[in-house]
Symmetry: C2
Subunit: 535 residues, 2 copies
């Protein structure tokens, strides 16, 4: 007799890092990988630590006791509370790795439907608890961390994960907020459709989280954020349903959807949305182009973004990032390392040869050297980069264990300010690291009027003092971005971590308007307090 | 000695209809044109009336007296008050034609800069007057009509009409809100750039008005509304400047711009905006395709809108509209009249032949018959339709004089509901007209998930009772649109005329949030009261 698949225990996510428990490599593998990473980065060898086991984590007792009407959807066990108290920023992983949970959530609710959710919100209002919407738990900006001043209920929406309805004619689908990337794509595949929204967190993050945080996705141009795929949204506020009409376009007042998109859970809990979906692409063209410098590559990318050719992929990696991710395999040193443009087109309707040809002419106008052109396939450089991109969150757990500081941050800025901003961010971030470490940059999304640079910082961690180190790097980089005309976030959201710079970026009357709007729909201020605005 | 150009009187806009005074044809021409129109439409001949002259209009005396600090920018003369009290809807033109101004604005302020504007708003708050932002005065939804319950100041922004700065690298321009379409295009032309936003009101309407009303423009697909061209907005609220950062894209909270876009003057007075501009197109492809029915044409248009080909022009005219505008010249009767698709592509960067070829394949898949394919030029059908489109507001003045009721309204709806909605609107509107008259339809903008149908109603006017007739038609059409899943407006805005249906369309918590947001930035409720929400 063997255990059938049905009775095997469900896979559990790691309590401190990325992925499932069964994906964590054994300690000896982590040690070897960490040592290799330190060597590749030129850091001296260091001890590899092990995470504090779940059982050894000390949690303050919960302050909440669910009423009978909610008991069946509520959990207060150690694993549940630990895995719902942090997101997945470097700071979160370090704290969880070291077993430090000073202010965990008190209770996790798993509503199965809107009726459950409505009861849970009413109870939070009654007992004065914060209600924190939780999707994939992949926030990297402190967007789901409990506030310190009151008990908290984390509302995990992952039981609401269905594609409820598909309108093939209009190419739209009604999808519940808790559906993960793979979950919703699998259900759409039965209809020959796809949402094609692939953030780095795709495996775990959810539709509701994407909408609440204005997530950035697959497309490097044109439809860069989830915003453009939202046809209508349904959210539950403490004062009723905020549900917009399914519309392909409208000019009826300020968009009610655009007010919810990016609201990070402070106005209501998104429960479902009609999304614009697509036929799967049948035509693909992909290539890689090398440039002598990031600056000349950026000029080519600007020409591409202003051409109206609309590449689906148009990611420019600086020399260090191209080398670190294996996208460029030849050996080059320092400034001589070429920048790499990963360029791709896709369509469900038509051949893309003419578009790619014109795009390559534009690259050649800026002294780009085409390294490979392939139809209907990924170029080797793109494959290497893509693998590195998808592995990055897993790798980070190993880097934390191996004492390597790793942080990413991103912005968007108009073209006229890009070069100076990127240069200053590199410089000040290196200064904040005390001269150690590497700061790489890529352009992840591009627009006719500007680009979104994304920075990766790797440095020897100050063991035991990582949170202070993180704070110094974050402050240095964010200060430069704010002063240099960028946005404090292009697609990572604001949460709690970006508040100081966000508060300066947003217009003051808008902040007053948003605060008043929240008070109108959430008078008790239970929804994700401290995120975006002060309670 | 001859009069120099400098001392000739400035051109004045007609006090009751569209265009300048010197563009109004002499009475005998109006009589001939009105008679010809009635004959073409199959209506019995009728008397042609003349407008009440400006001097014969009786106005209630103004209730406001500008303080010394504002006197130099304020006017209370008859012409100023009359030309700032109505927009340009059929209802507005009829009332002005008959000299009926029961509730005119009390005073017109012409701020030269933000300092003037700030003083004007402070004075309105002090004396309890409504402040009504006014751009081109082309609202067709009662968006700038004074409220009945208090004195009103109309704030005419047309003195703030400059292109202040151009960023060629980022292809963006800082433009003042009072710049008209031709005015801003002329200034951009010096830099080789264009905004390419061409609503029907282009000659007179202004950038600020476009942003405040989410105006629809040139492009039939992709960038259909002004929304997509806004990089940042600056607006003056009674509680300070609401100015966003210039950004190509952002994920930092709900977009502050998207809250102002479509706010119709209730949150602040838009003073300037950074706009995404473009190189003028060098490549154009245009053609016209005939379909046996509007329905088969709509199927082809759906395929086009879901193809990712992004035509700049993709307007489908039903048989009656194609015939009435002269776009189809062959004689066909009734249901046999073919529907016409005006299809065009344009680019500043690349040849469009492959795109047009694929688009025509899609049309042929739906039994479309290509009538002309021409590079770098307008097809004759497009030219005829475009001429009719641009002349329509002028023609309407003649129709009003000739006793012809003319109303247009529009919506957007998902593809799955389009056919039924269009059919029901035609049917109920004809019923509301008592069986007389013509209801034509075109699709003006199309999306992967739906389309924007635009209706034109022509019928014998109930002389002297036109306002009641208008109310019956408006209620019938709007009721069908609301019940059929459409938006009450795709690009005409809400104003006062669409309020009853808008109030039902928008989510209730959103209305509460918007009301609270307004109260936060305009606590005295002076800004355009009664538009979008109740005071």
């Amino acid at each position: 007799m063997s255990l059938s698949r049905d009775v095997s225990p469900p896979r559990r996510r790691k309590h401190w890092g990325w992925g499932f428990e069964d994906q964590q490599p054994p300690p000896e593998q982590v040690e070897a990988a960490a040592a290799a990473a330190r060597e590749q980065l030129g850091f001296a060898p260091a001890e590899v630590e092990r995470p504090v086991p779940l059982g050894a984590i000390e949690l303050p007792p919960t302050r909440l006791d669910a009423p009978a009407s909610l008991a069946h959807i509520c959990a207060t066990g150690r694993y549940e509370r630990v895995t719902h108290s942090y997101g997945k920023s470097y700071r979160d992983v370090v704290r969880a790795f070291r077993g430090r949970f000073d202010n965990p959530t008190d209770l996790v609710a798993h509503p199965a439907d809107e009726a459950d959710l409505e009861r849970a919100l009413a109870w939070c209002e009654e007992v004065g608890a914060a209600a924190i919407p939780f999707g994939g738990g992949t926030s990297v900006v402190g967007g789901l961390e409990p506030p310190g001043d009151r008990p908290s209920v984390t509302v995990d929406l992952r039981s609401m994960d269905r594609v409820v309805e598909v309108d093939r004619t209009s190419r739209a689908a009604l999808i519940q907020a808790g559906a993960t990337g793979p979950g919703l794509e699998e259900q759409l595949r039965d209809h020959g459709l796809t949402l094609r929204h692939f953030p780095q967190s795709f495996e775990y993050s959810t539709l509701g989280g994407w909408i609440a945080t204005r997530a950035g996705g697959h497309y490097a141009t044109l439809h860069t954020h989830i915003d453009d795929f939202v046809e209508s949204v349904r959210a539950l506020t403490p004062r009723g349903l905020w549900e917009s009409r399914r519309l392909p376009g409208s000019g009826a007042g300020p968009s009610p959807d655009r007010m919810l998109i990016g609201s990070e859970g402070i106005l209501g809990v998104i429960t479902e949305a009609w999304m614009r979906v697509q036929d799967a692409p049948r035509f693909k063209e992909s290539t890689a182009v090398l440039f002598d410098s990031f600056e000349s590559g950026a000029e080519a990318v600007r020409a591409l973004s202003q051409s109206g050719l609309h590449p689906s992929n148009c990611r420019l990696l600086d020399g260090d990032e191209a080398a670190l991710t294996g996208a460029v395999r030849e050996r080059h040193e320092g400034a001589a390392r070429p920048a790499l443009l990963v360029l791709g087109f896709e369509s469900a309707d038509h051949q893309l040869g003419p578009r790619l040809s014109r795009a390559l002419e534009l690259c050649e106008d800026h002294r780009g050297r085409v390294s490979a052109r392939e139809s209907c396939a990924r170029s080797p450089a793109e494959s290497a980069w893509r693998d590195a991109f998808l592995q990055a969150p897993y790798l980070r757990d190993t880097l934390v264990a191996g004492g390597i500081f790793v942080e990413t941050f991103e912005t968007a800025v108009t073209w006229d300010r890009l070069e100076e901003l990127v240069g200053t961010v590199r410089e000040r971030t290196r200064e904040a690291l005390g001269g150690d470490g590497t700061v790489t940059c890529r352009l992840t999304h591009v627009y006719p009027d500007g680009a979104a640079p994304y920075f990766t910082v790797l440095a020897p961690a100050r063991r035991g003092d990582e949170l202070a180190q993180w704070g110094e790097v974050k402050a240095a980089a964010s200060g430069v971005i704010a002063a240099g005309g960028g946005t404090i976030t292009h697609h990572h959201a604001v949460g709690r971590d970006h508040r100081p710079w966000y508060d300066r970026q947003r217009p003051a009357p808008f902040a007053a308007a948003l605060r008043a709007a929240k008070a109108a729909v959430d008078p008790a201020g239970i929804l994700n307090p401290g995120v975006l605005i002060d309670p």
